[in-house]
Structures are given as structure tokens and as C-alpha cells.
């Protein structure tokens, strides 16, 4: 039991068991269905406890990586795929985080989804979601990773389309699945390219060992890295494939929390962190990753400025924060990959807390407002929902990066990484621009977060009529998770990094990261607190907060005419959806129309050919009139003709 591999397998098995139980309840429609949340909560809670034990074990010992014995999954020629899991600091952190956050989301959902149709179905898919994510984190084989990666995709499809009777939800689910799939194509291609380059290995560790021992061709490696990055772009909602994530808000709110905080979107970041040894060898791929992250961060932050849907603001903020993580990961070639990955993973870690918190708070608001989520229709809720108000404030402050809160520390680490990266290497200028971009984004983040906060909780109390008797604070099943996560959002950052450096020390020992550092020929960066950078960041965040306060403290939106066009642009999401519609969807529609026309032509031809026998049949049908004499006469005449022919032909 004390073996880390056993622990990890147990953590992996618990959600699967919960899924089976909940699915059984859902299929049999048994009256015990209203307890469908119990297996998930118990499974996740046990998993979280075990995950923390595992984390302590990984942090404490001298050994830092355990790899299970490979169990062959399938093999064909050179392609050998085995079921193999690896526990190292990176996966241990993810595992503990995923199970911990999922536990509280599960508890929240048991209150939020109470009395919904398909209660057991919901929890079955949630369990499967957590299982897939845990498997993704643990797997030490690229193809196994893909299997779990797709499992996560399927679960997100099922959960986003949970209200499948609603056309918009069904469309959003389809969009989520198809857009991420677009990235997955690249991901698979990348894996096969790596398989070819890396001595026919599909095992992650074996592949990295091979690659560091026999450095591959630079161009091929860059191509493979960029293809892997394609998958991450789709899954982690980066520009240009981020469009599915805001639409995924059609699912129930706890699902959004799960997707945005613990599972799904973090998968892309994790993948890149995992593959750091490859990326470290390819500076070109790194600058591309950083650039895409930067573009996404500022683009999504800009779109979030003027959204009226509370959940959409949060969704775009997730996209933007994921951009930050990719910015950090992208510095990995220019500076020590350990530092880069630590910054990204630390932001992922703190972000999970405050984003789950923000989504659950938004869910609590939505629950009491009777499903209304448009910020123009409610306001001034701070008296009505005191707990939700405080927890949302904690989350917002952490997201905005106000000093001492968890978001502040992780964002600071990323800015630090960018600063270091913009000193003395090939892409100095590029990283400097990205640093500026991220600083602007800090300002915008603070602004839109607090805009949402003020619009929801300040000003005169306004409640939409849909709320009815629901307009009160949510039950304790929902507020307790909020409080726990709020504590996390406030303190988790300060607890693990800025003073004791626990988080970075843990990752320093990750074997893959050490490999990456050796491959990138960079120097280790000492952890020290950069006062200037932190002050600039704080000033920008406070500036954004102050601006939001000035504009929205009344709890309603009145825009000066000068900035109205900018906000209109933001409100319409920079017309990206329309652009995609015109550039990709329309031509595809035309192509589909042409194909269908051609298909119609082929059908017409087939029908024409089939019409010939039918016509002949129609012509000679009257012959079969049921009269025996007529048949006999026909036979006799036919025989006569035949005989005449034979006799005279042969006689001649």
C-alpha cells in the first residue's frame, strides 16, 4: 500500500468505481438515484487524501520517480504500446490538485443539481471525467495518454451537452468536440512523428531518454513539438481554437468549474510541461508557444471586458489565464525550463483554486437567480447572498492578482520568467513584447474581474422575476465548498511558494525537468522576489480595480460615448466567430452543398438505370394474365419459332 504506484492506481480506480456505480443507478433508474453523488464525493475525497499522501511521499523521499511495470496494451510491428503509469512530482501535484478540487465541485454539484433530471447520469459522467483526467496525468505512454485525452474530450462533450434537449447546448457540445478534435489531429501526427524520431518508442520516459541521448534533427523536432502544441491549443482553448470554451458555458455551472479548473483545459498545459525535454531543445517551438499564449492572453482579456454574461466573463478569463501559462511554458528554452515549468504549473495550481471558486460562486448566483446569468438583469446581491459575495470577492481578488493572494504570486512568477527570458538570447525582442502584453493583460484582468464583481454585487438590489422563491443564499452544501475554496484561493499561493519555495523545490527534482534543463544548456535561476516587477504588477492590477470601481460601483453599466465602440467590439467578441463563420463555415457549407448536389446527380443516374427494367416490366406485364391456355399458346408458338429456326438453319 505504501508503494506510490499502488497509491496512484488506487486514486485512478476510485473515480472509475464511482462512475460504474452511478452509471448503474442511472441505467436501472433505481430510487437510490438521489444518492448518486455519494460515490463520486467519497471517491474523490479518498483520492484527494491519498493524493496528498502521495505528494508528501514524492516530496519527502530521495527517489522522485516511480514507473510501473509495462503491461502490453497492443503491439503491431514497431509500434508497442503498454499500459504504464509514472508518478513524479509533476503528476503528483496534478493528481492531488485534480482530486481535491473535484471533491469540492462534487459536493457543490450535489446541491446545485438537486432534483435535476438525469442526476445520476450527471454524476456518472463527472466521475468518468475525473477518472480520465487522472489517467491522463499518470500515463507514461503517448498513446495511453491520447486515450485518456479523448476520454476527457468525450466527457466534456457529454457534460456540455447535458441539457441536450436545448439546441444551443447540443450545438455547444458539438462545437467543443469538433474544435478540440481539430487540435487532436495535430497531436496524433506529432506523436507518430516522435515515435519515428525517437527510436520507435511510445513511452514518454524512454522517448525523452532516447532524444536527449541522440539529439534529433532540429527541423523535425520543431515540427513534432508544434504538432504536439496543436493538441494543447485545442484542448487548452488557445488562439485560434479557443472559440469552444466560452460556448461550453451551456453546460451546468459545476461542469464549467470542473472543465476550467481541474480537468480538460489544464491537460494542454500539463502536456507541454510533461514534454519539456522536447520543447527545451527547440527554441523556435518555444517562441511560438509563448507568442500564441501572449496573443490568447490579451485577446481573451479584451473580449472579457464587455461580456454581459457572468459565466462568459469567467470563461474568457480562463482562456486568458491559460494564455499566461503558455507564455510561461514558452520561456522554457530561453531560461531554465525548470523555472518556466514551475511558473506555469504554479499558475495552473493557484488558478485551479480561484477559477473553481469563481465558477462555483457564479453557479451559486445563477442558482438563486433562477438560471439567469445576464449581469444586466441582477445586481446588488451582496446583502442577499453574503457568503457568495465574500467568496466571489476572494476569487476575483486572487484572479486580479492583488498582493499576497495566490494569483499574485503565480502571476509574479510568470512575469519574472518573461523578464528573464527577454535578457540576452535570440528572441529577446519577442519576449520583451510578450512581457508588455502580459502586463497590459494584468490591467485588463483586474478591470473585467471587478467589473463583473461590481455589476453582480454592488448597487441597488435587482432580482429577475425568474428567481421566484429561490432568491436567497444557497444551502450549506453549496456554500461550504465555496468557503473552502476561498480559503484556498487566498492562502494556497503564499503557503507553498514565496517564502518556503516548497512548490519549486518539488519540481526541481522532477526527472523530466532536469533532463530538459540539461538539454537546453541554461543555467538554474535562483528564486528571489523581484520587487520592481511585483510593484508594477500590483500597480496595474490596482489600476484596473480602481477603474472598474469608478465605472461600475453603482452596479450598472453606463459607458462614455468615447469608449463605446471599443466595448462594442469586445462585446461582439472581436467578431472572431463571425470571421470563422465566413472563412471556414461558409465555404464548408458551399462545399457541402456542392457535394450534396453531386450526390443528387449520382442518385438520379442510379434511379435512371433502375428505371429501365421497371419500364420493360411495365411493358410486358400484361402478358402474365393468369390464363393457362395463353401460356400454353405462347410456349407452343415459341417452340414453333425455335424449331423452324433450327430446322431451316440446319437444313441449309
Amino acid at each position: 500500500m505504501s508503494d506510490p504506484i499502488d497509491l496512484a492506481l488506487l486514486i485512478l480506480g476510485l473515480p472509475l468505481l464511482a462512475c460504474i456505480i452511478a452509471a448503474y443507478l442511472a441505467i436501472t433508474k433505481s430510487p437510490a438515484m438521489k444518492f448518486a453523488h455519494v460515490p463520486l464525493i467519497l471517491g474523490c475525497a479518498t483520492g484527494a487524501v491519498l493524493g496528498i499522501i502521495l505528494l508528501l511521499k514524492v516530496a519527502g523521499g530521495h527517489e522522485h520517480r516511480w514507473i510501473s511495470d509495462p503491461m502490453t496494451w497492443f503491439a503491431a510491428g514497431n509500434l508497442k504500446v503498454s499500459f504504464q503509469i509514472a508518478v513524479d512530482p509533476l503528476s503528483a501535484i496534478m493528481l492531488a490538485m485534480v482530486t481535491f478540487i473535484s471533491t469540492w465541485i462534487a459536493i457543490f454539484s450535489s446541491g446545485y443539481m438537486h432534483g435535476e433530471k438525469g442526476y445520476a447520469r450527471f454524476f456518472a459522467i463527472m466521475s468518468l471525467f475525473v477518472f480520465s483526467m487522472c489517467g491522463l496525468v499518470l500515463s507514461n505512454n503517448f498513446l495511453l495518454l491520447v486515450a485518456f485525452w479523448e476520454g476527457v474530450g468525450v466527457c466534456s462533450y457529454l457534460l456540455v451537452g447535458y441539457y441536450y434537449e436545448k439546441p444551443s447546448a447540443a450545438a455547444a457540445a458539438r462545437k467543443a468536440f469538433l474544435v478540440t478534435r481539430l487540435g487532436d489531429v495535430g497531436f496524433l501526427l506529432g506523436i507518430f512523428l516522435l515515435w519515428k524520431m525517437g527510436g520507435w518508442n511510445t513511452s514518454l520516459t524512454a522517448l525523452f531518454d532516447y532524444m536527449t541521448k541522440f539529439p534529433p534533427d532540429q527541423g523535425e523536432l520543431t515540427a513534432a513539438c508544434l504538432l504536439l502544441f496543436c493538441g494543447a491549443v485545442g484542448k487548452s482553448a488557445q488562439f485560434p481554437l479557443y472559440v469552444w470554451l466560452p460556448d461550453a458555458m451551456e453546460g451546468p455551472t459545476p461542469v464549467s468549474a470542473l472543465i476550467h479548473a481541474a480537468t480538460m483545459v489544464t491537460a494542454g498545459v500539463y502536456l507541454l510541461a510533461r514534454c519539456a525535454p522536447l520543447f527545451a531543445m527547440s527554441p523556435v517551438a518555444q517562441i511560438v508557444v509563448a507568442s500564441v499564449g501572449g496573443i490568447t492572453a490579451i485577446l481573451a482579456a479584451f473580449i472579457a471586458l464587455a461580456q454581459n454574461d457572468l459565466k462568459r466573463v469567467l470563461a474568457y478569463s480562463t482562456v486568458s489565464q491559460l494564455g499566461y501559462m503558455f507564455l510561461a511554458l514558452g520561456t522554457g528554452g530561453a531560461i531554465s525550463p525548470i523555472f518556466a515549468v514551475t511558473a506555469a504549473m504554479f499558475h495552473l495550481f493557484t488558478h485551479a483554486f480561484f477559477k473553481a471558486l469563481l465558477f462555483l460562486s457564479a453557479g451559486s448566483v445563477m442558482h438563486s437567480m433562477g438560471g439567469v446569468i445576464d449581469m444586466r438583469r441582477f445586481g446588488g446581491l451582496r446583502k442577499l447572498m453574503p457568503v457568495t459575495h465574500i467568496t466571489f470577492l476572494c476569487g476575483a481578488a486572487a484572479l486580479a492578482g492583488l498582493p499576497l493572494l495566490s494569483g499574485f504570486w503565480s502571476k509574479d512568477l510568470i512575469l519574472e520568467a518573461l523578464t528573464k527570458a527577454s535578457e540576452g538570447n535570440r528572441y529577446t525582442g519577442g519576449y520583451f513584447v510578450l512581457l508588455l502584453v502580459s502586463l497590459i493583460t494584468v490591467f485588463m484582468t483586474a478591470f473585467y474581474t471587478f467589473r463583473a464583481y461590481f455589476l453582480t454585487f454592488w448597487g441597488p438590489e435587482r432580482i429577475p422575476e425568474e428567481a421566484g422563491h429561490h432568491a436567497h443564499e444557497s444551502p450549506s452544501r453549496m456554500t461550504v465548498p465555496l468557503m473552502v475554496l476561498a480559503v484556498g484561493a487566498v492562502f494556497v499561493g503564499i503557503a507553498v511558494e514565496p517564502f518556503n519555495h516548497k512548490f519549486s523545490h518539488l519540481l526541481e527534482h522532477a526527472p523530466t525537468l532536469l533532463q530538459a534543463e540539461a538539454a537546453s544548456h541554461t543555467e538554474k535561476i535562483p528564486h528571489h522576489f523581484n520587487m520592481v516587477l511585483a510593484s508594477i504588477g500590483t500597480a496595474l492590477a490596482l489600476g484596473g480595480l480602481g477603474l472598474a470601481f469608478l465605472m461600475y460601483r453603482k452596479g450598472s453599466e453606463t459607458l462614455p460615448a468615447a469608449i463605446e465602440p471599443v466595448f462594442a467590439l469586445s462585446r461582439n467578441k472581436l467578431y472572431v466567430d463571425e470571421l470563422y463563420g465566413a472563412v471556414f463555415v461558409k465555404p464548408a457549407g458551399v462545399l457541402a452543398f456542392l457535394s450534396s448536389a453531386f450526390d443528387g446527380f449520382l442518385d438520379a443516374m442510379a434511379r435512371l438505370i433502375s428505371a429501365i427494367p421497371r419500364f420493360v416490366g411495365w411493358g410486358i406485364r400484361p402478358i402474365q394474365n393468369g390464363l393457362v391456355q395463353f401460356y400454353a399458346l405462347s410456349m407452343a408458338l415459341g417452340l414453333t419459332v425455335l424449331l423452324t429456326f433450327v430446322v431451316f438453319r440446319i437444313a441449309r
Binding site: R621, P622, Q624, N625, G626, L627, V628, Q629, A632, L633, A636
Partner: protein, 142 residues
């Protein structure tokens, strides 16, 4: 001297009469007899050629024909009996229902004279008609 040609002439006449009879008559029993005549015409052919060639093949064939014809007679007459019971008629044109869908039934331009149905007066004791009037279902099943 009776040559092969004489036999062939008789066989051809027999076959021709049978064919014409088969094509022109509508009574099923007559048609059946005509078919038998055609058989016999063919059989005579076989026998004549067997004799002419001096071997037994044709004769064996004729034995087969007679055996098959006997079987066929049994089946055909049983069939006619059942058909007579259902339709009270031996007219072959009454059984047109196997024609193609949508093809109109062939009817006589000049209707056949209706023969009055007379009650059977000289039935054997076993064939006495039941006294009760048959129900609709019974009538349909007969």
C-alpha cells in the same frame, strides 16, 4: 411394309391433336387428356426410333414417361377435384388469380351458357349431404 415414317406420322398426328385440344379446350380434364395424348405421341416416336436403331434406349425412356405420366395423373386429378370443390367448375379460365397485379381479368365476350346445378340424386350412402345448412366459416373452408 410399315416403315418408320408411318409411325412418325401417327405420332405427329397424335401430338398435333393433343396440342390443338390443349390449346382450344377449357375443361381441365379434357386438357389433361390432351396433354396425355401429346405424351403418347412422343412415346410412339421414342419406340419407333428405338426399333429403327435397334437398341433399347428409347423403350426405357418410354417406361419412364409412362411412370411419370401415371404420377402426374394422380396429382393432376386430385388437384382438379379440389378445384372443382372450391369453384364448382372445371373451367381453367376461372383460375386467373395468379396474374400480374393491375392486369384486368380476362372475361368472355359471349358468356358461357349456364348449366343448371341439379341436386345429386344418386349419391352413395357415404356421400349423403349433411342436413344442416353450412355456416359461413364451414363454407369458406370447404
Amino acid at each position: 411394309m410399315i416403315t418408320l415414317w408411318h409411325y412418325l406420322a401417327v405420332a405427329a398426328a397424335l401430338f398435333g391433336i393433343g396440342l390443338v385440344g390443349f390449346l382450344t379446350r377449357r375443361n381441365m380434364i379434357i386438357m389433361f387428356l390432351c396433354a396425355e395424348m401429346m405424351f403418347q405421341g412422343v412415346a410412339i416416336n421414342f419406340v419407333a426410333f428405338a426399333r429403327y436403331h435397334g437398341n433399347l434406349q428409347g423403350q426405357v425412356f418410354v417406361l419412364f414417361i409412362i411412370a411419370v405420366a401415371a404420377c402426374e395423373a394422380g396429382v393432376a386429378l386430385a388437384l382438379f377435384l379440389m378445384m372443382y370443390r372450391r369453384g364448382k367448375s372445371l373451367d381453367a379460365t376461372d383460375w386467373q388469380s395468379l396474374r400480374e397485379m393491375g392486369v384486368p381479368p380476362t372475361v368472355d365476350t359471349v358468356p358461357l351458357p349456364v348449366e343448371p346445378v341439379t341436386e345429386d340424386e344418386h349419391l352413395a350412402p357415404a356421400g349423403v349431404r349433411p342436413k344442416h345448412v353450412p355456416t359461413e366459416e364451414e363454407a369458406a373452408r370447404v
